[in-house]
Symmetry: D2
Subunit: 387 residues, 4 copies
């Protein structure tokens, strides 16, 4: 009889909905060693959380996240709140003996992230597991990219170029949001989307960034307040608010294997909605990926004769590709949400096996250190800043 895994989810906005779909869906496509139960959803507003629980499929609700940690029917706490609350909730949960899945970025500061990584290490010693939600790692094309590098198909890595391009505030009249306030969001494009490409490039190459040189920019410093507080509806109200985070971050970096890197994270790339673009050039091969065409990986095999060499457009929908065999016959592409399902699969499997899942909180901390070095470099005339 498959044991159950009681899940308590904190937060029910965009990420809460994505995680809910993953918890619901994983058991229908994968043979999981434990059966997740959508035990409890937590949120501060009793009416809203009840409504969300019904819609998202959770069996009960709490209005205080601390109550979730006290419940015996909860084995795992899934943290989908804004970044300023991650440290407090995740550490408390680990100390309460609950496994933790925490959305990225791990925290809003390095100090918080350090405390979280330490708590995770202590908990791991007691068999309590933790994972940070860099979900794009589980897109099949990204998994294939990592495999190719690990198999040596790229040789020595020379260049990495990574961009995460969005445009949702390219219009100067787009209204304020908590994501534009430093005390809630920690940083702007840098932490929200830049964190993903830092993690992905390190994940694919199996290497770490050793230093950065950076520029940050806030193009639009005053924005209209939203029609109603907290609204993300895009409708402007009266008065203006001050944007206290970066609109865009660009930085150079160097990987510990010697590769040069360029990074760009922005919410002002008009026409690009969610373009995560990663290219890696090595001495034997090259890779290119764009999330706007997420089921595809481009691979150049330098061992081919020149006359027939070229970037191959690999449609990553074959049973031979990571995670794909569990879904549909060859050629039937997956979407954004499937990465979350794969994340649940790997997390539940690790818990059942008694292993530490990845990415760990320590990995989340290391990404936080990169982001911190970016901010320090940008504040000091872009000077080279080691990590």
């Amino acid at each position: 009889m498959t044991p159950t895994l009681g899940v308590g989810l904190i937060g029910y906005a965009f990420m809460g909905a994505a995680h809910s779909q993953a918890w619901r869906t994983a058991p229908h496509f994968f043979d999981l060693p434990m059966r997740p139960e959508l035990t409890v959803l937590a949120g501060r507003d009793a009416v809203r959380v009840a409504d969300a629980a019904g819609r998202l499929g959770w069996s009960s609700v709490e209005t205080d996240w601390r109550r979730v940690l006290e419940r015996e029917d909860v084995d795992l706490v899934d943290v989908c709140t804004p970044g300023d609350t991650h440290a407090e909730i995740a550490i408390a949960a680990l100390e309460a003996g609950k496994h933790v899945l925490c959305e990225k970025p791990l925290a809003n500061t390095v100090a918080e992230a350090e405390a979280m990584a330490e708590a995770a290490a202590r908990a791991a010693a007691r068999g309590v597991r933790s994972m940070v939600g860099f979900t794009y790692r589980r897109v099949p094309a990204i998994g294939l990219a990592r495999q190719l590098v690990a198999e040596g198909r790229l040789g020595d890595i020379r260049h990495v170029r990574a961009q995460y391009l969005q445009d949702w505030i390219a219009d100067p009249q787009a209204p304020m949001s908590w994501r534009l306030e430093k005390d809630k969001a920690g940083s702007g494009a840098l932490g929200d989307i830049g964190a993903h490409i830092v993690d992905l490039t390190q994940h694919i190459t199996g290497q770490r960034l050793t230093g950065v040189s950076a520029l940050l920019e806030t193009f639009v410093e005053e924005r209209p307040l939203p029609a109603s507080e907290g609204s993300l509806s895009g409708v402007a109200g009266q008065g203006t608010g001050t944007v206290t985070v970066d609109d865009a971050a660009v930085f150079l970096g160097r990987f510990d294997g010697g590769a040069l890197a360029t990074f760009e994270a922005t919410r002002f790339a008009l026409g690009r909605k969610n373009a995560i673009r990663i290219e890696v050039n090595g001495s034997r091969g090259s890779l290119a990926f764009d999330f706007e065409d997420m089921n595809v990986l481009h691979f150049f095999d330098g061992d081919e004769p020149a006359a027939t060499a070229g970037f191959r457009r690999i449609v990553v929908t074959e049973p031979e590709h990571p995670y794909v065999g569990a879904w549909w016959p060859a050629g039937h592409g997956l979407g954004y949400e499937h990465g979350f399902t794969h994340q649940v699969v790997d997390l539940v499997t690790a818990i059942a096996k008694g292993e530490d899942p990845t990415p760990s909180f320590a990995e989340g901390l290391q990404v936080q250190r990169v982001l911190d070095a970016v901010e320090r470099s940008a504040a000091e005339r872009s000077v080279w800043t080691e990590i």
Copy 2:
């Protein structure tokens, strides 16, 4: 209080799994006027169907589909069996007062399809609804394509070119399967995938094909038997079997608005896994779609000045696009399975409103007539054959 809709699903292979995911998922993302219940799953093998019901989320099982029709807790029968059983099950279900969702092609012969369309018409008069599962209609990019034509953005349609390209039996050693036997499958590439592009081009243009000129071909007539009977594993066993359906179909056509069309459906296009490619050229604009990049529609606006005119790569992931707003923020693409969820949404909505959903059985019959004309033309030296 939202009323419930008890669903009985017949069949649990590829299509059964896809439909199950849709029934489970739809209520979590869309405000449905009725709440679907996964009441019963039917299949002939008691062990297998029980296993599938557990995996796919169905509350009970039957080993005789007739029992599903007798159950009072079943309001809708979802037919996911091979085509040779569609007519019997669907007609019986409609006569039993159950709404019916029937996978495509509607039937294996025109005669069967006619009987089904007649049964559907009789049932509709009693408020019993029916729909045929041309699910690709509900891919958002296809929905947008139809909108643009309907708004007149293409003007008079001049050309349609449509291909459905797969390669799963391009290897002559790929083993036999029921899909290669005429008495079970009705036809080969023509009915299995050609039916989709006939339906899609008619759906997008809002026009009907009036005639065809066709070639059918079976490239590999003898294939090894599979290792175990009924296996789809791709492993060859002993002996060979005879392929009695087409491997590929190509045909010319003309739409009732005067456009010329070319169609191609094949399982021998090496390197193309599930490439549904549709192009439409009109006097004011043009469209291009490829399911290998399913979240994208290419649109050429002939009203643009020549210096800045070009095919626009519309990433169909904005809230303004059909169905998209219910899912994720802009830029987060959907996958193959989402079309099935949209199908459930539209079907449930139509039932609740007391309207006939589309595509109707009559539309399924019309597609069957096109397929029949293709076969007759191919048998008569490709002579022009009216529909």
Copy 3:
């Protein structure tokens, strides 16, 4: 000392300009065994031909093409006139002992083409050479495609799909032109551009079409007369003229190796300017080409493991590729006109070697027979028509 080759060019419109650039350019990039001299340009209007000769670099002019054939300083006659004059000029030139390069289509009728092919055969016996100008054969990516097929990299050919898409008369108000009159042009899109894809697919596959089933269509039957007679300026004048050729041709075909083919040639594909698109699927590999991206060939190698297989985008600008080494370093693409230069190179080389160049008039005749079968099929309810 390199011998010279005196060239006489008949016609100085679009094709005349392209051929002139080729004759001028070839010796600067290729080591030719004979040095072409731009000896004489012929045209009926004395003022215009003199102006063209100055602009295009020809040393003298004639107003009667027969005079060109009489000149001793002319070794080769290059025929760039409309199709209704090809037969008369080319046959007379061959009989006068001049080598002939004749633009495609070889002639306006099969009878004319037969006479030309016979004249070419007689001339060849006397060491007089002839070639028909299917210049796209000499695009490097097409050359590479043919090589890959010849090397067996595609295996048995299963499918060919070819389109030549233009849009220059998609607007019903685009004025009349001699290209829309049957007595001058022979046919419309079929002969003008359809001829190219018939030749290219046969050239790439090394196979011949054995039969066709076809539809022809004239979408716009009356058009405004141009502002001044003979004008191609696109400005409409008074009154209308009747279009007596096809606007578009679609046809099915079968190659002698068993492959199925679809063809489409049209001037009504809005947004496509000169899109020659060719795809070939075989049992071991597949190819795709689009002249809108003419320096690229896509190749799928079916021998690759499934996990890393994909269409390779081969940028055909390496020294290893056909013709490319004579031009620029790797990566510096060629344009439309370079195919004409390659044609001159191959023609001059064959003449110097005493060999018959390709494509021969016999090959041009065979293409003419395909076009004729298309017209006959279209006139007889698309019935299968052998070639």
Copy 4:
């Protein structure tokens, strides 16, 4: 009667060949106000230069470039030598009253470039013209990009990302060349190809870079000597030489209108042969260009409704596009070399009109200052370095 313009070309390698083709071709397609004569070709080796003159079409030769400046039949000196000789030759030519076209980069040092710009200013006062050969400005798609920015279609520029990617020394066994020696080449990828993207992005945006933060890298410091000295054949000989220039340069920048920029120039991007990739994002629109598809410009118009907005693939082969009307009918693409022809056209036109052509030596100097700031930043821990 059209006046003549006697041209003396110094150098006959890659650039010499490209310029020769341009001088020969321009008068055949464009109505030039002066008729260029290929008067004299200069090179140190008498045998080689004579051979080159014959092949490239020059009427006479000199083995000392100073003799070219003394000749009365030379009106313009075209400098196609390595960068270490640009200053001496160009200044002497200007002082001799000859117009000068000088290949890029203008010089190997800022000091040389300053002296050249001063000489050019003095010469201009006497009606003697000068131009630096940033030829990619004259690719039609780049011209269209600049037009769109100038017309305000992009609004305020937010982001520029530019890459020039090659791979010709990605193999560590690729042999030494003068291009890898600092005293001859000045710098490596930075000056050779990075100069182009600095110029292009400033040209397109109409803005200047104000500062940079940079990294330079030499991945392979020792390389085999070529088989014969001076050989570029790619065949290795005995012994090794030391690479004294950068293999790759990456840098951040800021434009004077506030945009953030990332730049990358490398010879180690395996699989990219000559990929000049430029993207610009503004508040109203965005652009993307890749020289691997040089006849195409991608344009996103932010004024479009969201449902139909998308990057347009503009095929820049219409008569409405810059330079295109002089060549072929719509849809017939140009190649690498055509930019050189356009350069000749604009230069000759400016000389005839008595105007200063662009890009001027002052613009070349400004690019040199950017390259210098890149080197200084890279030498000082990537610190922000103003230009």
